[in-house]
Amino acid sequence: MAARDYIRERFFPHIWCQGCGHGIVLNSLLRAIEKLGLSKNEIVMASGIGCSSRISGYVDFHTLHTIHGRALAFATGVKMSRPELNLIVPMGDGDALAIGGNHFIHAARRNIDITAIIMNNRIYGMTGGQFSPLSGFGTIATTAPYTNIDHDFDIVDLSMASGASFVARTTTYHAQQMADIFRQAILHEGFSVVEVMSQCPTYFGRKNKLGGAVDMMEYFRDTTTPIGSKAKKKNPDLIERGIFIQEDRPEYCSEYDQFIERAMKGN
């Protein structure tokens, strides 16, 4: 099946701004799904609120557009009741880690087989450019006009500490690596987190004088490096990308099935 067969063409054009990185994420995701040969009926996409979350409207899967920050909680209900389905949950950085931070760490802790994609553009785009937990100290936003004093955290570190058994990072500049990581994340049985550094030229780029979309993507190229590269040793400030952890650990739905067997015996 060609990648375009996975989209709902009649709902295009999409709502994303010119130069937004989220379309690249959609592209890489569909290429990954195409490569896996999954049928549209096998995939549930649950999303929350924000620019990133609108991705669910454009794909011809079972799509659940929920409320801000709670997509993983809805997805947990779907997955637990239909474990054979593939759950993909695209979220923005604010959606996943501010309002949804608690659901995020607990979904990771359970190691439930859901693929969480965090499209990290370091800003609340839908509401017009307020700082997010990922904006970082010293950045400018409409709600941080005198520079932001909130510190960010590292999504990869947070995910690993929370118990995710697959954790990766990539950027919109590295679209092919992104597709490959998505493919492996979906295949992985357990909670998978993929952070995608994505550009918001309209707000984050403009407010912070980072140039246009191309400039921002080149910035991703220049400030990131593969995990464990020589460049990283020379320049510790570089951000690593690639798969940080990929471990076989007991998955929540399978554990629950065994739990049911124990309960039935005790009956």
Binding site: V44, G57, L64, M80, S81, I260
Partner: protein, 382 residues
């Protein structure tokens, strides 16, 4: 019969009713005085290959049950006031996306942490208006364990019939008190199964196009029909729209499907109302004290009766108006500052004859408390 006879807490009666109705997915978070519902379901559900999920908070709990309901399961969560507050946004989502679910609120005093182990009926208006935007809601309650069982089954039946959340408002006294419960045989009480679409996969399916009777056949999410579900205003495919006509029609549909059925959704009990000059209106554990008083005064020949409400929302104003028409005085007995009192005053012809007998101190209202108010209403001393 003996096998079906139990001596249980009200919270267990709710569990038994839910399982009888076909509950197979529960998600919750521990909170007094509702916790026994979660504890019993944690033990019971896996034995019937159902799922019990303990989530990280009440917000996640309601979201998880909505997700599971979409895939075709009968779902419930249980909480108390603070958790019910957290569930309000998810409640609104289930109204907008028309996803059946049952939410049990075993009330405690409030606001805030309030009085966790004591009785209150303070969440009546939160059940009605807690979530934002125009909407209608179905809320049931019960005063004894047999009724808790039956109203729980009814809650599931209504949720499935009208694709709506249903709130079951219990209170601490009913939830924790132990009394007799007889579980009906299978088939003795009707259990409503979900109306599912006959549209085959690959055919254009309209998940949000009401039939002529207003009902919406569902397709189990993850099955052969792919569609979109959203909390935004949406068209018949479930796709977001701000088209004024579509927004108007959906708002009307969500309100009318409940409000137009006030009569058929009304559950209530009548005691000695035929010739009653004093009519008590009550619900939940307060109705027990009310009935105690009515029977005591009747034995002395006084013309007093009780209308016990089991449906609080949509408020059965027509029934209240009719039953109070001949009364000299109406006394609303509830354990809050008069949340149903307001509805009764609007419903009856003469609001001046309506009085409130209440307690707001975490103590079960007694028949004496009610009698004091009746005497005051009759200009007698207490």
């Amino acid at each position: 019969m003996s096998q079906n006879l139990k001596f249980v807490q009200g919270n267990e009666a709710c569990v038994e009713g839910a399982l009888y109705a076909g509950l197979d997915f529960f998600a919750g978070y521990p909170i007094t005085p509702s916790t026994e519902i979660a504890e019993h379901l944690a033990a019971r559900l896996p034995r019937i290959r159902g799922k019990y999920l303990q989530m990280e908070d009440e917000i996640a709990s309601i979201c998880a049950i909505i997700g599971a309901s979409l895939t075709g399961h009968k779902v419930m969560t249980a909480t108390s006031g603070p958790g019910f507050s957290l569930m309000q946004e998810g409640l609104g989502y289930s109204i907008m996306a028309q996803i059946p679910c049952v939410i049990v609120d075993v009330q405690r005093g409030g606001p805030s942490t309030g009085n966790p182990t004591h009785v209150s009926q303070g969440d009546v208006n939160q059940a009605r208006w807690g979530t934002h935007g125009d909407h209608a809601i179905v809320t049931y309650t019960a005063s004894n364990h047999q009724d808790v069982f039956e109203m729980t089954v009814e809650a599931f039946n209504t949720a499935e019939t009208y694709r709506t959340p249903v709130i079951l408002l219990l209170d601490e006294v009913v939830g924790h008190m132990r009394e007799r419960l007889i579980i009906p045989e299978n088939g003795e009480m009707p259990v409503v199964e979900r109306l599912r679409t006959s549209v085959k996969g690959g055919v254009d399916y309209h998940p949000y196009l009401p039939r002529e009777d207003g009902r919406l056949p569902m397709s189990d999410f993850g099955g052969e029909n792919r569609y979109n579900v959203t909390g935004l205003f949406h068209d018949m495919w479930g796709f977001p729209t701000d088209n004024p006509k579509t927004v108007h029609e959906l708002t009307r549909h969500l309100v009318d499907k409940i409000q137009n059925r006030v009569h058929s959704l009304a559950r209530f009990k009548e005691y000695y109302l035929d010739d009653a000059r004093v009519v008590l209106i009550s619900y939940g554990s307060a109705a027990r004290s009310s009935l105690h008083l009515v029977e005591e005064r009747r034995s002395r020949g006084e013309r007093i009766g009780l209308l016990e409400l089991q449906t609080l929302w949509p408020f059965p104003a027509g029934i209240v108006r009719e039953r109070c028409a001949q009364a000299q005085s109406v006394v609303v007995v509830e354990m809050n500052m008069g949340q149903i009192l307001r509805e009764v005053k609007v419903a009856v012809e003469d609001p001046e004859k309506v009085f409130l007998a209440n307690r707001i101190d975490g103590t079960l209202i007694s028949h004496r408390d009610i009698m004091d108010i009746i005497r005051i209403s009759q200009a007698k001393g207490v």
